[in-house]
């Protein structure tokens, strides 16, 4: 068998380097995309895990109140609990270094006396001083990492300004840590303060974020945790530090699944490439196969031979794909990290986590896909009778005879796709949605031979009118070489369907978000702390700033908002407290059901809450039902007054009246103030008047409605950057398919081209015919791709997105998507046809017309 492979297969590959090369490249791109996405997501998660693990150090259990601090007196109550050998209090904050550094900095406030049992800090400097962390007791002292210092040109005694909420505070670098232990957190963007200084700086005086605990090795972790829970107030939890990792993994689960599914598209398109390439190969080598069979090679051996060829292509594709994927991963990592940070949690992933399993998986998928794609042609090759020529005509007739069957099967697949689209999610995942999408692609692929015939007949008069005899010949060839053209068109159709459907989905989503922003965010000015973008809901607007704004003569109304993260049903949701009468007045929340005024009234007066659509979908709660929330006073029921459309967060949001929130939670801090002006045309003046007088004391941003809208849409565009890149790659694979197919055509049609040249056809006419054929394939692919793309976009919007994230997206099939796709197809088909057209016109006439 090995001899057969060496003499027959490897020699064939080396004889047809271009074709083999293109096929391998197509598979390689598919593998590369899969690997780069997987590596990027792993690396982002790993970076987050690494931060959690490094900051946790040796901690066995942590006591924490997610999203809020808790009374520091709790430390004294629990540190002597049985089974605990050490405890240390911690506050933490993600600050923003002031320009020009402008980086996030994860700052840990530690008790220098108790923290060393939990975390190892390796300092550059005097051993005596560093071992006791005494230097941190000096005023405004901070310790940073060597990485951070070197990157931004800092050293001991350097000044480091940090934006913490609305304040800008100056610190002096008193210690520099080697990049070991916790200093590795957030890629080295890590610093430590003394806890007392930190509490003051972070406005957390009297509060802690965590108490880290070390347990006696003989003690049972579960028993200690159970014992602690009895002592802790209701809103404080005890858990392992790694629980946060699982939470984040759950949080980004839907995002990860969707991105992984997208990454398979290029591989799917690549399958057509391999199938086409192998089919043509079998046809061209039919004489060799016949000779082999007559020499005693069995059907099984021929089958194995061609499967082996598929496997060889898969192996070579895997090797090349892994190389390309690793390079690609550096770019996709940046995009994925930005998206995760924008949508979920701050992640600073600069290093790739390359797991051997990912590489192995990529290789296995590449070989698997190639062998599966080669199976059909391998079977045809095995059936070649020694004396029978497996002529192109024979295969063409087979396809023609079965066109009806293919159409029926295709329609059947589409019907099944519809049934699947109507099914509910499985364990919160749109499994049937993905199956439906796959079936749409399969269905249209099966319809392609019949669709090609029909569309070709439709275009033929126009093509002949514009391109005369060359056009007529091209049209004939598309029709009569269905075995080859249909597969190429199916690949292009698949890529275009993905391109169009993803574009429609993204544009629809964008338009939906834009409409929502215009409706829901009507404030003229939004006051936020300067570090809000980095620090999130840990950054507050000082009361003085709020009062200053309230007193401004141009401010008609002001809404103050407090937002905190909350654990609910294993997810992190937002608890949003706002002045609901202002909400009623100014913001135009759209509710799924019910009267807006009545709902808001029940929230303002009746203590009810409203929840976002995603919250309602994820937790199966709707109007009239109660939800249980953990408050400082214990579990409490809140009636849901309404469900509203919202696109702030995937995990969901609960809105409660601010006065009621303050009463129950005792938290008077404000994250944001939204101002409604009497005369919006005075916006710029009011901004200056609000911020200017306080700029010496506070760092507060006064963002206009337009600026906020633009920022929201900018983040939106950023999160979908990777989807755009993936669809382009799928399209490139399809174009490789056209080039491959056209090159095969040139080889296959050498005699026909020779005859045409012999009877007086110019080279330019041959080139024209080839280009028209490429364009025809492109146009047919476009029509089929557009129709399937629209159907696919509906599944993406109404099923996959809805079931993954819970959002309602309005369907906007924007014409520009189709126009752009058409232009892309026309240009790409033209370019794809250029090289084959040139090759076609290069053949010497005498050799071409001679038979073997």
């Amino acid at each position: 068998m090995i001899h057969l492979v060496r003499l027959f297969s490897l020699r064939h590959f080396s004889r047809e380097k271009w074709k083999s090369g293109l096929t391998i490249l197509g598979i390689a791109l598919g593998v590369a995309v899969f690997i780069s996405i997987r590596i990027s997501i792993h690396s982002a998660l790993d970076a987050f895990r690494s931060t959690v693990d490094h900051v946790a150090g040796k901690t066995h259990l942590e006591v924490t109140s997610p999203g809020k601090g808790f009374d520091e007196n709790l430390f004294l109550q629990i540190k002597n609990t049985g089974g605990i050998v050490a405890a240390t209090p911690v506050v933490q904050y993600v600050a923003r270094s002031s320009p020009p550094i402008n980086q996030p900095l994860f700052v840990l406030g530690i008790d220098i006396f108790t923290d060393r049992r939990f975390r190892d800090y390796q300092f550059i400097g005097t051993v005596e001083e560093s071992s006791l962390l005494q230097f941190l007791l000096k005023p405004r002292a901070i310790a940073i990492t060597k990485t951070f210092a070197e990157k931004f040109g800092l050293h001991k005694e350097s000044r480091l300004d940090l934006l913490i909420g609305s304040k800008e505070l100056s610190f002096i670098v008193k210690g520099i840590m080697e990049e070991e232990g916790p200093a590795k957190a957030l890629g080295g963007n890590f610093a430590i303060l003394d806890i007392a200084h930190a509490q003051e700086a972070f406005d957390k005086v009297g509060l802690l974020d965590r108490i880290d605990l070390l347990l006696d090795p003989r003690a049972s972790l579960e028993a200690v945790a159970a014992g602690l829970r009895e002592k802790l107030p209701p809103n404080v939890v005890v858990r392992r530090p790694q629980t946060r990792n699982r939470q984040v993994e759950n949080m980004i689960g839907a995002f990860r699944l969707n991105l992984t599914a997208l990454s398979f598209v290029s591989l799917f398109v690549g399958m057509f490439l391999i199938y086409n390439s192998m089919s043509i190969s079998v046809i061209r080598r039919r004489r060799e196969i016949g000779i082999l069979r007559s020499l005693g090679v069995s059907e099984r051996q021929v089958l194995t031979l061609f499967l082996a060829e598929g496997a060889i292509l898969g192996v070579l594709g895997a090797i090349l794909g892994i190389g390309i994927g690793l390079v690609m991963a550096k770019f996709t990592l940046a995009s994925v990290s930005k998206t995760v940070t924008a949508l979920y949690i701050l992640v600073k992933a600069e290093r790739l986590t390359i797991s051997p399993i990912t590489l192995l998986l990529g290789a296995v998928i590449s070989v698997g896909v190639s062998v599966i794609s080669a199976a059909g042609p391998a079977r045809e090759a095995a059936r070649t009778k020694p004396r029978e020529a497996l002529s192109l005509n024979y295969l063409e007739r087979k396809v023609w005879v079965h066109i009806g069957t293919f159409m029926l099967a295709g329609l059947g697949a589409l019907a099944l796709a519809l049934i699947f689209a109507l099914q509910k999610p499985v364990l919160g995942r749109p499994v049937f949605g993905f199956a439906s999408a796959f079936l749409i692609l399969v269905g249209f692929s099966l319809i392609t031979p019949g669709g090609t015939r029909w569309l070709n007949a439709l275009f033929a008069p126009v093509v002949e009118r514009f391109f005369k005899t060359e056009g007529r010949l091209a049209s004939h060839y598309v029709n009569d070489s269905l075995t080859r053209t249909a597969i190429t068109i199916a690949a292009l159709m698949t890529a275009l369907a993905m391109l169009i459907s993803i574009s429609i989905m993204i544009l629809s989503f964008r338009k939906t978000v834009a409409i929502w922003v215009d409706q829901a965010i009507t404030a003229d000015i939004i006051l936020t702390p300067a570090s809000a973008a980095i620090s999130g809901w840990d950054a507050f607007v000082p009361p003085e700033v709020v009062e200053h704004a309230r007193g401004h003569p141009d401010v008609e109304e002001i809404d103050t908002i407090r937002v905190s993260e909350m654990d609910y049903g294993g997810r992190v949701v937002l608890l949003w407290a706002a002045v609901t009468p202002v909400l009623l007045h100014q913001a135009r929340l759209r509710f799924l059901r019910g009267d807006e005024a009545e709902i808001i009234e029940r929230v303002t007066r009746g203590g009810e809450v409203i929840v976002s659509e995603t919250f309602s979908m994820k937790f199966g709660l709707r109007e009239g039902q109660d939800l249980l929330m953990q408050t400082p006073g214990g579990l409490r029921e809140f009636r849901i007054a309404g469900v509203f459309y919202d696109y702030t967060t995937e995990n969901g949001m609960i809105i409660v009246d601010l006065a009621i929130y303050r009463k129950i939670w005792g938290d008077v801090r404000i994250n944001r103030a939204t101002l409604y002006l009497k005369d919006p045309s005075r916006l710029e003046e009011v901004r200056r008047e609000l911020v200017g007088p306080l700029s010496g004391k506070y760092q507060v941003l006064a963002v206009s409605n337009r600026e906020l809208r633009d920022e929201i849409l900018r983040i939106f565009d950023q999160t979908f950057a990777i989807a755009h890149a993936l669809k382009v790659i799928a399209f490139i694979v399809a174009i490789l398919g056209i080039i491959n197919s056209m090159l095969a055509m040139v080889i296959e049609r050498e005699r026909d081209i020779g005859i045409l040249r012999a009877i007086g056809t110019f080279k330019a006419q041959i080139r024209k015919m080839t280009l028209v054929e490429a364009q025809l394939m492109g146009l047919v692919g476009f029509v089929l791709g557009a129709v399937s793309g629209v159907l696919l976009s509906m599944v993406l919007i109404y099923v996959i997105n809805k079931q993954s994230f819970g959002w309602t997206i309005q369907f906007f099939p924007v014409p520009s998507v189709f126009v752009q796709s058409l232009v892309l197809v026309v240009v790409a088909s033209l370019l794809a046809g250029l090289f084959p057209a040139h090759a076609a016109s290069k053949k010497t006439v005498a050799e071409s017309v001679k038979m073997e």
Binding site: N393, K468, T469, E470, R472, L473, H476, Y477, N479, D480, S481, R751, D752, G754, I755, L756, R757, A758, I759, G760, T761, F762, K763, Q765, T844, V845, A846, V849, K850, M851
Partner: protein
């Protein structure tokens, strides 16, 4: 008149050189029916390729009506093939995706002539070769003899002066072959076409007015020939 002056054609096959024609000198008069005979590999087909402008000599000159084909670029050679030459191949070389009438009309159409005129001319020629009733059939649906008659009709559509036929009966039974040769004879006697026929069969060569023998790339004199 067609004139070959010291024409040599050498092919490279890997590292080897094959001399297909070796200093051939030949004159063919207008309106002649010439048969070139010889065993397989003697250079008959190569000679016909050069006469039809399908290939170029390695050295020497091919002059047709005073014009040296070597002076022509690819565009002019193609033009020459369109207007002056009709070629009939041993293996018919019809375009499989076209039907009989379209195959015949094709040379007319690629010149940019109107479809209606091309179809009318094709119909006339198919009538001439006795295949009008097969005009909507494809190549795979007709016999070898019929395919060759279609090829003859195609070769005539541009009313060329010269007909080149390379083993036109090589793939046919004797009855069909005879019919083809009779058609070629009529083209010469009735339509005054210059017909140059390459064949390994002396019986086939007997239809021509003059015969030349080739061996090892050279044209033998009549005294050297074995007829």
């Amino acid at each position: 008149m067609i004139k070959l002056v010291d024409v040599t054609k050498i092919y490279r096959q890997g590292t080897q050189q094959v001399t297909a024609l070796d200093r051939v000198n030949l004159e063919i008069q207008r309106g002649e029916f010439l048969a070139i005979t010889g065993p397989s590999g003697c250079g008959k087909s190569t000679l016909l390729n050069l006469l039809g402008g399908l290939d170029v000599p390695t050295s020497g000159r091919v002059i047709i009506e005073g014009v040296d084909l070597a002076d022509m670029d690819d565009v002019r050679l193609t033009q020459f093939r369109r207007e002056r030459v009709g070629i009939i191949f041993q293996f018919f070389n019809l375009i499989p995706i076209l039907d009989v009438r379209e195959n015949v009309a094709l040379p007319f159409l690629i010149r940019g002539m109107p479809t209606k005129e091309a179809n009318e001319r094709a119909t006339e020629l198919l009538q001439m070769v006795g295949l009008l009733d097969r005009q909507s059939h494809h190549a795979q649906d007709i016999s070898g003899g019929e395919m060759q008659r279609v090829a003859i009709a195609r070769a005539l559509i541009n009313d060329p002066d010269i007909i080149l036929a390379d083993e036109p009966t090589g793939n046919l039974d004797s009855t069909s072959g005879k019919k083809i040769l009779e058609v070629l004879s009529r083209l010469n006697t009735d339509l005054k076409k210059t017909v140059i026929l390459a064949t390994h069969s002396s019986d086939t060569a007997g239809f021509a007015g003059r015969q030349l023998m080739m061996r090892d790339g050279q044209v033998l004199t009549e005294a050297e020939g074995e007829y």
